[in-house]
């Protein structure tokens, strides 16, 4: 009896794809033979728009690229601008930047883990527990800069305004409560036999493939490669704080989930150390003009965003807008390997793998 291969389109609108993402999947019975991703449904022309706007106005554009992690987008862009224009940032501004970036890392990893478990079928319970913690972080952001998600908190030279007085006790309260909540979530998820049997040894990615395909971020560290830009190319004051890099051993979905969970704990440690080291002072140097006008040249400063290595390549021709702005988006680079990871496994594993790669379509399509 002959069988035939079935080609199906998992459309841009689907409850399990995080954003508008289309895949054309061919499978034989239950096993996947081919999975072709088709992207571009969220393209908004951010890079072209950036050529028309001044350097401070582009900060609002960068918020909206990876919309679950605005602070780190801002940080990557502002570091590039500072290197291009030769601005030396103020110390307190840098410490505030680091606190904001690490809080954002906790929020982005919470979203990633929550939606991964949601794709596995737990009816929103772990997702809601993690979003409850993320709500507290978003309230902290609202205190700092007035908006919860699209922050535009950073400016060339530092941050735009100092944190208010009610921020510090709330931050301390958050730091006290978070480790117990994480223990709760670990009890619920990590040893759960159902999650273990659905995610272990599924979609394995080994070291050589990961390095050859320029994967970065938690996905790379889950495959066992010891690479974190905060340790290798330290930017801001990351060389003054100490934290560890969690690594996986096998490189399957379970490792990617565990690496993100442990990175949340490391971020809490970094924030506590920043709180000890921060000093009162100006948040932006006085001589930074309103309209930044850098000399001709180009710059690229990559940072460790929650999704991987994020960098803005800026070319300036001496005016108030950049001549060219290109974004090295980690989600797009990590997405190229989805097809190879998924071939040979079952249909039900497709969405779990996609969730563990942790893609944000705003960043893929810009």
């Amino acid at each position: 009896m002959s069988t035939e291969l079935v080609t199906m389109n998992i459309g841009p609108i689907h409850p399990s794809t995080h954003g508008v993402f289309r895949m054309r999947v061919t499978f034989d019975g239950e096993t996947i033979i081919d999975a072709e991703p088709i992207i571009g449904y969220l393209h908004r022309g951010s890079e072209k728009l950036a050529e028309e706007r001044t350097y401070t106005q582009i900060v609002t554009l960068t918020d909206r690229m990876d919309y679950t992690a605005s602070m780190t987008n801002n940080q990557a862009y502002i570091l590039s601008v500072e290197k291009l224009a030769g601005i030396k940032p103020a110390e307190r501004g840098v410490w505030l930047r680091m606190i904001a970036a690490e809080l954002q890392r906790i929020a982005a990893h919470s979203v990633a883990i929550g939606f991964l478990i949601n794709d596995l079928g737990a009816w929103h319970t772990p997702l809601l527990y993690l979003l409850r913690e993320r709500e507290k972080i978003l309230e902290l952001f609202e205190m700092m800069c007035g908006a919860r998600i699209t922050n535009s908190y950073l400016r060339p030279g530092g941050v735009f305004m100092d944190a208010p007085d009610e921020f510090w006790p709330s931050l301390n309260r958050f730091l006290d409560e978070m480790p117990e909540r994480l223990n709760d979530i670990e009890n619920l998820l990590t040893d759960n036999e159902i999650i273990v049997s659905r995610t272990q040894n599924v979609a394995v990615l080994n070291k050589e493939d990961a390095i050859n395909a320029s994967i970065t971020g938690p996905m790379l560290r889950a495959s066992g490669v010891d690479w974190d830009l905060r340790h290798r190319n330290p930017y801001d004051f990351y060389d003054k704080v100490s934290f560890r890099r969690p690594l996986g051993t096998v490189g399957d979905n379970n490792d990617r989930y565990l690496v993100r969970l442990h990175e949340i704990r490391e971020s809490l440690k970094i924030i506590e150390q920043c709180l000890d080291l921060i000093e009162p002072g100006p948040i932006k140097p006085e001589e930074v003009p309103f309209l930044v006008r850098p000399d001709e040249g180009d710059s690229y400063v990559p940072i460790e965003a929650p999704k991987g290595e994020l960098g803005f390549y800026l070319v300036s021709d001496g005016g108030i807008s950049p001549f060219r702005c290109h974004v090295r988006a980690p989600s797009l680079m990590n997405l190229t390997l989805l097809r190879d990871m998924v071939i040979g496994y079952k249909i039900a594993d497709l969405f779990v793998t996609f969730g563990s790669v942790d893609v944000n379509m705003g960043e893929v399509d810009r």
Partner: protein, 407 residues
């Protein structure tokens, strides 16, 4: 007429209708107007009254379960459930029902219209037949069939036929695949259910449900924990609930058997699943949690204990749904055939051996048998975990730890 008069519920209504002298002691109020010659009239009126009451009670309890499940899952997730319509959101099921009824009934062009229409009806109607058979109190049942256990198990397996009909009649290639997968799962979990029920029957000595309840001096959940666990897991799978809800979640990708149904036909599937949940909980309470029996030193009627345990078992089903993610289909089949089947065989073997050695146990012997059953329970789960579970699924599993990078 004889078996019907055993039932307390039947007696109450019958005696207040008929002037039959044999039930003089039961009449509370001296109100009866149908003479003895027209006994068939009072008999049929009583029967119709109780059928009406049971059907309505079943439907209303489904409405209450819809409300209860959504609010309880909300509390598990640290949020409120529906609370806008009516005080505490009590009118939400009415809004749900209106929504389902007013949707457009889209019918695909099919080859088999008859089967398409019959499938949701077949899902709902047989479940009504479970409610009259279950003893709610010492003599509160509607009929006392002498083969109650087999009857109940047979009815819970009709829904696999309905699923197959729904998948086939949709004419959609993915619905057929979804339907066949669902039927495979449902049939595989019938067998551990049946064998665990056999363990209950050995203790009771007869197949009748009221005998099963009366023979439980220690509740069967404590006496045979392995059987209880197997029956609970198999029931969850029979109801298509989490963690076995691949059919409801539409296989996360491919259409499930229900996709081509809309409006009231989908509403009937929904209704059937909830009613089956309530019926299965009643069955579990009867088999394993000693039905209407409660501590005898309290002057509370048996019906109260039954309802309390009933709500508890439904809450356990909802608790499972709120906590566990989904299993893949091949993992579900492995669990049934490589796990639950063997555990239920071990269970019935141990029970049969112990009942053969001590056919009429005194209370100390009962406690000793309970101890043996618990030792077998823990031992077999341990061995099952060590030997079977690393190879239970398609992929190997191991103990995973996170290492940290060296500086």
């Amino acid at each position: 007429m004889g078996p019907a008069r055993d039932s307390f519920l039947f007696e109450i209504v019958y005696c207040h209708l008929s002037k039959d002298p044999s039930c003089d002691s039961v009449r509370y109020i001296n109100f009866s107007f149908i003479p003895v010659e027209l006994n068939w009239l009072s008999f049929s009126l009583t029967a119709f009254f109780w059928i009406f009451a049971f059907v309505n009670a079943a439907l209303i309890s489904v409405l209450m379960l819809i409300w209860g499940e959504r609010r309880l899952i909300g509390k598990f997730q640290a949020r409120l459930g529906p609370n806008r319509w009516g005080p505490l959101g009590l009118f939400t099921p009415i809004a749900d029902a209106i929504k389902v009824m007013f949707k457009e009934d889209v019918e695909p062009t099919l080859s088999d219209k008859l089967i398409y229409v019959l499938a949701p009806i077949l899902m709902v109607v047989p479940v009504f037949m479970i409610f009259p058979v279950i003893p709610y109190g010492a003599k509160s049942f509607l009929t006392n069939i002498s083969v109650g256990v087999v009857f109940v198990l047979a009815i819970t397996s009709i829904n696999s036929l309905s699923v197959l009909m729904a998948g086939w009649a949709s004419g959609n290639r993915f619905a057929i695949i979804g339907g066949i997968r669902a039927v495979a799962m449902l049939l595989s979990y019938e067998i551990p259910m049946g064998i665990s029920a056999a363990g209950v029957v050995i203790i009771a000595g007869s197949l009748s449900l009221s005998e099963v309840v009366e023979a439980q001096i220690i509740p069967n959940a404590i006496f045979q924990p392995l059987g209880f666990l197997v029956f609970l897991v198999a029931s969850t799978a029979e109801l298509n609930r989490s963690p076995f809800d691949i059919t409801e979640a539409e296989s996360e990708l491919v259409a499930g058997y229900m996709t081509d149904y809309s409006s009231m036909k989908f509403g009937l599937f929904y209704l059937g699943e909830f009613m089956a949940t309530i019926a299965s909980s009643a069955v579990i309470v009867t088999f394993y949690l000693s039905g209407w029996r409660g501590p005898s030193f309290l002057p509370i009627p048996g019906e109260f204990w039954f309802f309390a345990k009933w709500i508890g078992v439904i809450a356990i089903f909802i608790w499972f749904r709120a906590t566990f993610p989904r299993l893949r289909i091949d993992q579900i089949m492995s669990l049934a055939w490589k796990g639950l089947f063997e555990l239920s065989l071990i269970n019935i073997l141990v029970i049969a051996l112990t009942m053969a050695i001590w056919p009429d146990p005194t209370s100390t012997q009962l406690l000793f048998m309970t101890g043996i059953n618990w030792a077998v329970f823990i031992g077999s789960i341990y061995i099952f975990g060590k030997i079977l579970s690393p190879n239970l699924t398609g992929n190997k599993i191991d103990k995973r730890k996170v290492v940290y990078g060296l500086d």
